[in-house]
């Protein structure tokens, strides 16, 4: 006779406790694992700190991008020179220059408007501070509104808005095309100044919203008769995308 068994018979309490504790242990370790998984993902503050590690690369990036601009200008000159040779090349060059215009790889000039957004830290004291500083979404929405109103080219703080341009707030600065900018942010748009002004002053529009939440001092809009937008100076190298052979 097993003495253990007889003792157990007297103690159903132990067995129910054991079973429940086993279930509890299972659930507990599951919850533990789940929580650890959650902690392992970065919180925004950590992510910001990690990203700011790239700051010293920025200066070098600026230098290289100015070199890129210079080289692209030279290419344009060469293309134009080559085009002088024959009519066919001339046609080819024209379409090439059009494509470069569309891609934002050449400087452009013409009439337009200039919008300056600046942090309004003392204007409206009753607003929370989050409303009185310029955010990436503000810039993004203004740019979007400008495209919608028929802008032909846009630059933000001297950085041309092209395909793939992004605006991001990182700590106290903003990244435009991954280059650091800070308030005031100047957005220049080429297009019909009257139309663009009208779009910007739309009641209930984005400018109205910014002024409403952060004070009228945050926004300044000027109509400009002739201005010059810089060419895109960033990388144009594609790593993954290729043109398919049967593309039309």
């Amino acid at each position: 006779m097993n003495p253990f068994a007889t003792r157990i018979q007297h103690n159903p309490v132990i067995w129910s406790f054991s079973a429940m504790l086993a279930v509890l242990g299972f659930l507990g370790s599951l919850a533990w694992l789940t929580n650890r998984e959650r902690i392992n993902t970065f919180d925004p503050d950590q992510a910001t700190r990690i990203r700011s590690g790239t700051l010293d690369v920025q200066a070098e990036y600026q230098k290289l991008s100015s070199e890129v601009t210079k080289l692209r200008e030279e290419t344009t000159k060469f293309q134009n020179a080559a085009a002088n040779e024959s009519g066919q090349a001339k046609l080819l060059n024209k379409s090439l220059q059009d494509a470069k215009k569309l891609a934002g790889l050449t400087e452009l000039e013409g009439p337009g408007i200039s919008i300056t957004l600046r942090d309004n830290l003392k204007g409206k004291s009753d607003s929370p501070i989050i409303d009185t500083v310029v955010h990436d979404t503000d810039v993004l929405r203004v740019v979007n509104e400008l495209w919608n109103a028929g802008s032909e080219a846009i630059s933000v703080n001297g950085h041309r808005v092209v395909t793939g341009t992004n605006f991001r707030c990182v700590g106290s600065v903003m990244l435009v095309n991954n280059i650091q900018c800070a308030s005031p942010i100047t957005i220049q748009a080429l297009g019909d100044p009257k139309t663009l002004m009208g779009a910007m002053n739309l009641p209930g529009g984005i400018i109205y919203e910014i002024k409403d939440s952060g004070g009228a001092g945050m926004v300044q809009i000027d109509s400009i008769k002739k201005m010059r937008l810089p060419a895109y100076a960033g990388s144009t190298t594609y790593k993954f995308a290729v043109v398919p052979k049967d593309a039309k």
């Binding site: 003792r7 103690n11 159903p12 309490v13 132990i14 067995w15 129910s16 406790f17 054991s18 079973a19 429940m20 504790l21 086993a22 279930v23 509890l24 242990g25 299972f26 659930l27 507990g28 370790s29 599951l30 919850a31 533990w32 694992l33 789940t34 929580n35 650890r36 998984e37 959650r38």
Partner: protein, 133 residues
């Protein structure tokens, strides 16, 4: 005897680690509340056992219903936009504290009783020996 529940707990934990699939998304929070409910039921069972009011059926059904209710309360709270998760966490946490303090009181009383009994026994022995000599 007390080793069996502890062993069971360890087995449960190991089983959980073996499965090792972190529960995705928000359901993880619900499991945390369910764990709290389970812990509360265990404490409650321990207490009722000490009080001599322990019933296995009540304990087992209570454990599972509490776990399931806590899980679904947290889930429902998320669906309708109020943090019922907090409600369960606060209530269950409070109950765990109350139960543990009662258990402590019982254990202390038992221990003091035991010492008192020993003391009286010793005294009785001493008087017996004195009477004998």
């Amino acid at each position: 005897m007390i080793l069996i529940p502890i062993l069971a707990l360890i087995v449960g934990v190991l089983l959980g680690r073996l499965v090792a699939q972190p529960v995705g998304g928000i359901a993880g929070t619900y499991i945390a509340v369910a764990v709290l409910a389970g812990l509360d039921t265990i404490c409650g069972g321990l207490r009722s056992n000490l009080e001599g009011k322990f019933h296995t059926d009540i304990f087992v059904s209570g454990f599972f219903s509490n776990v399931v209710i806590a899980f679904f309360l947290a889930w429902l709270g998320d669906r309708i936009g109020i943090n019922l998760f907090l409600a369960s966490a606060v209530i269950l946490g409070g109950r765990i504290f109350v139960n543990l303090s009662l258990i402590r009181r019982f254990a202390l009383t038992k221990w003091q009783d035991y010492r008192e009994r020993k003391r009286i026994q010793r005294q009785a022995q001493q008087t017996q020996q004195m009477n004998a000599t």
